[in-house]
Symmetry: C2
Subunit: 392 residues, 2 copies
């Protein structure tokens, strides 16, 4: 599948990480692109997050480049805002665009000053290496302790031709280790007005990154950006817009699933489906309650069809439901019927739970129209090993 | 320290647990006692929880006995309510009191039918063994995978004589393993009217059991009961009431701390203090956010002074605060000042974090009057080992 037209990528080692591995990456659109972002709701938002929010507002949703560094989150430091702005300004000068068209993102240790000279010194070499070929290289440069890069691509045959969309993301790893930041970058060559792109991203995010949890801890740096540069020459019709939104949602779900699957210490991707809640929001709260329960996640790690933990976690979600109307399925096998134990072969189900993809369905009978899916991973001893190690 | 007058205790093996260890326990007051309880807010509340709530209402807050079983939570079963009622009726007949004066509590596996005959058959022998001496035996009979029994006692020199109070609790363990239920039972020989006792319990609970988390999962069976039988012959004056409330709160905090310290896989008790929030409720939300963060808990396990995870968890609590006004102390050493890294000796602090008691203080400067304390434990590989094992 081809990458979206009009985007170029580059990365290099700027000396921010302790190990010699690319840690500075640049994504540029050859022409100013419509841009939209969703960001961490953590009260302690990092400087790059605030800069993105300000720039997207100032520019009216137009961006020309995204500068990303790994190895330092540029968060909770004295100079955070200055460093983010200096990096953006240097990028703007090189790209000859207004500084408000530059977005920045950081991931890595927090509370440690980031030397802006490392970035400004390395930036010219990075910019010189810009190429459509370096998409995969950038997806590797933004990794922290991710065990593999995470990318997804899609194409849409719209009226007028083919539109491409490509995304990359990172997360669920820690380099120092500190915060497991999620970053996501999506490029498309469709022509979409900024406001429309923003609305689409919000809706697609609601069913993808907002339905993802590895450990319930929201980072200070979470950032998901979409750029639409129109390089395909194709403007979306209304009908194509709906199809595009579906494609964007699917692509973001693909990336979110890759993060869950690569969650710290994870051996299994867990997909939680909730049906029959009053609203989609209620469904999401129930799903999140199940996904964040350490007891559910450890049970899945041990291939234990422990549906009691599932209904207990749902009961703690704050959503009102009648337990006697609940059916629970694991790997498609009914384990709880009308709130009570359903007969099933324990051995057969345990064997199925050893698979790398585990599904949990939580169905409220005679319930409302609210439904959703949510992705998480199992909880293993390796999660503890990764996170209990000394920071330095 | 002497136990409260007018209470007797007994326990026996009724065949509910798989291993031969007392699993049925009875606490009686020789005269009807004022009684109050706080219960799980889990939507999937177990049958014994509902029975207690009903009986406390019917009796106007009077109870004569508490029947407790371990090995089966009597939750999410077809016959749960019937079994709880049959057990209460059998106890009422033996004790010759109205059934509404009987409270019941269960802990163990959920979703498995509990045979009421096991209880009614064993009950006469249990009742025959009632003695003031068996307080410790009952505190052992209610254990699941707790590694040690948890009791606390206190005395108050009131005007008129000495009042005694004694409590026992269990939790943070699983026998099958299923839900880590918290049960707590407190006896006092003070004379306190039911409504006053209820108000006192609610307030004391707010600063003790409501400030406790091992893993963020609220059980279906959590129950905390207080009986005040007046056997000391002493009615509390208004001033003594305040002192008694303080004593009750301290006793419940003691029990709650014992649960956290014995949390699954725990090696350390973590005490989180929050100051400078707008309200006590805000302080509690921040503290709970920190206490439930797997990243904070694994950092403490690894003796890592990783304050970035602390401020990040607080930022996710949903409470508004200015990060630039936050100081964080670990083991009394300032690690974050005004939201930024404070200078400290990493090696010295790591050594201090190896201790069994870890304190984290989160202070909002120039903030409001809201403050609280919260107890949790560190998160180790043993938590995973305990909970990922097969249920059967």
């Amino acid at each position: 599948m081809k990458l979206p037209l009009g985007f170029r990528y580059a990365s290099s080692y700027a000396g921010i990480r302790k190990i010699r591995k690319d840690d500075l990456a640049l994504i540029v659109s050859d022409t100013p692109a419509s841009a939209a972002g969703v960001f961490t709701r953590n009260r302690v938002a990092a400087a790059p997050v605030r800069l993105c929010q300000n720039h997207l507002q100032e520019s009216g949703g137009i961006a020309s480049a995204i500068l990303i560094n790994a190895g330092n989150a540029n968060c909770a430091t004295r100079t955070g805002a200055k460093v983010a702005l200096a990096s953006a300004k240097a990028t703007a000068r090189l790209r000859k665009v207004p500084v408000s068209q530059i977005l920045v993102a950081s991931t890595g240790v927090i509370g440690v000053e980031l030397d802006p000279k490392l970035i400004t010194a390395a930036l010219p070499a990075v910019a010189a290496g810009l190429s459509p070929e370096n998409f995969e290289a950038v997806s590797q440069a933004i990794m922290t302790t991710d065990t593999r890069p995470k990318t997804a691509k899609a194409e849409l045959s719209a009226s007028g031709g083919v539109i491409s969309i490509a995304g990359m993301t990172k997360g669920a790893g820690m380099i120092m280790p500190m915060m497991a930041t999620t970053l996501g970058f999506v490029m498309t060559d469709a022509a979409i007005a900024p406001n429309r792109l923003k609305a689409m991203l919000r809706e697609a995010n609601e069913e993808s990154y907002s339905r993802l949890s590895v450990d319930g801890d929201t980072s200070t740096n979470d950032t998901l950006l979409v750029l639409a540069n129109g390089a395909s020459g194709i403007k979306l019709s209304n009908r194509d817009s709906d199809v595009f939104l579906g494609m964007l949602t699917k692509l973001l779900q693909d990336l979110a699933q890759q993060i869950a699957r690569d969650g710290e210490g994870a051996t299994k991707l867990i997909t939680i489906s909730v049906e029959g809640a009053k609203t989609r929001d209620d469904a999401a709260r129930i799903a999140r309650g199940i996904a964040n329960s350490p007891l559910v996640k450890t049970a899945v790690a041990g291939s234990d069809p422990n549906w009691g933990r599932v209904i207990c976690a749902a009961g703690n979600s704050g959503v009102a439901f009648d337990p006697s109307q609940v059916d629970i399925f694991m790997q498609g096998i009914r384990v709880c019927r009308a709130g009570l134990a359903a007969p099933f072969s324990e051995d057969a189900l345990k064997a199925k739970l050893d698979e790398k993809d585990v599904s949990i369905e939580f169905v409220i009978r005679n319930g409302g129209p609210g439904q959703t899916r949510f992705w998480t991973c199992d909880f293993t001893e390796d999660y503890i090993k990764i996170n209990a190690s000394y920071r330095t």
